[in-house]
Symmetry: C2
Subunit: 243 residues, 2 copies
């Protein structure tokens, strides 16, 4: 079973204070890029894997999605999601992406934000996702960028007046335990190559790969984000289910 750090009170309390937790999609600086990857939402049947507070699910319903099933491991987050999206017909369910067990199939879209890097067996997850999509259906996902997750020491260094990211261990995939609002959050580092090839091996066709960083406008507004262009924090991808 996947680690359920989100139900840890200390973690939950810290995580709840993030801009993306408070403001939803508009608090997620990568959202405008993610949006370019999405297919038509109107009339779509949507499965959200790792829905958190339900920000995307609300957006999908507001944009005409026909059905939204939203899965998360954290009961605490689902409780809050239900509060925030009261009235919207979103089907929230407790579930572990590592052993996804839902009877529905033929989704038009599987969406997942910043969840796959908690899953050890990505191959198995891709196989499951493919079986849940209709032919031609789309997967749109964001994950922590492998450059971000790779190193032993994931803290910026500085020399000669500029910051740099001390990269090592990039090709050595596997568990990374990191302090993040708690003593130890377990993540799984895998390379971009592994993300892409595992999709290709499971009857997905790659549509887009975005190594996300803030654009000039965002950096002007938030000068402290400048170094996010030195080492990308998020990887975004879209892939279509093929026969």
């Amino acid at each position: 079973m996947s680690q359920n750090i989100y139900d840890n009170p200390q973690f939950y309390s810290g995580y709840s204070q993030l801009p993306r937790s408070i403001e939803g999609l508009s608090g997620a600086p990568e959202w405008s890029s993610v949006r370019t990857l999405l297919p038509a939402i109107e009339g779509a049947r949507v499965l959200d894997l790792g829905c958190g507070f339900g920000a995307f699910d609300r957006w999908a319903i507001e944009h005409g999605a026909k059905e939204v099933i939203a899965i998360d491991l954290s009961r605490r987050m689902l409780l809050e999601a239900r509060k925030r999206t009261a009235g919207a017909s979103i089907d929230y369910r407790v579930g572990d992406l590592a052993k996804l067990d839902i009877p529905e199939r033929n989704f038009d879209l599987i969406y997942s934000a910043l969840a796959f890097h908690y899953i050890e067996d990505f191959h198995s997850l891709c196989r499951t996702m493919r079986s849940k999509l209709r032919n031609g259906g789309r997967l749109v996902a964001t994950v922590e960028h492998p450059i971000f997750s790779a190193p032993r020491n994931d803290q910026w260094k500085e020399e000669d007046g500029y910051p740099f990211w001390p990269l090592d261990n990039y090709l050595n995939e596997g568990e990374r335990v990191r302090p993040w609002f708690s003593a130890g959050v377990t993540k799984y580092h895998r390379t971009i190559g592994t993300y892409v090839n595992t999709l290709l091996d499971n009857s997905f066709q790659l549509v887009r790969l975005i190594e996300w960083g803030p654009d000039a406008e965002q950096v002007a507004k938030h000068p402290e984000w400048a170094k996010e262009r030195d080492r990308p924090m998020f990887l975004l991808f879209a892939a279509d289910a093929i026969g």
Copy 2:
């Protein structure tokens, strides 16, 4: 016109001493991975972009390629290539990948080893390559990995007894001038996302993406290669031409 560093005597002399220059494909540690990307060579019409000393072209002819056209900017390298492959029916031509001008079309395979990072306009090159491949034909290429080409300071650092790669500037694409057997070799840094999306935008379908590093066996044989697993030096990809 692209920089022709390979005809610089000082550069040429240094480059000629690399294991891959002396031993050919067996001196290129990534070759066994590249080989997994190649389609059937027997009977294939092959275009090699940046052929250097012609090691791949000889291999292709030996494995039954029907026709091999091999392009390089460096007359000096082509002279040596012709010497090394005397007797093999390889059509060597001087040419600049930045303005590829050959009448032939309908190739089954375009191969390119460590050349695209010298080309500023990858979009234009992809469009040209697509026009030279038959439908279903394949592009197999290797480039310097963007993690390798990105930083201002491309020298390993060490701390607490282990080496790390001081990554910065990853998302800032463009020219990188580097000393390499000469004062200044001009390369063009672009991200993995840009390589992939530019292929997708030019009617290629991604088949495989390999972030290459030495495997355990290679590290055992060459312990000094261990840190190549900390930051990959080469990116390998295969993409098929679609209609």
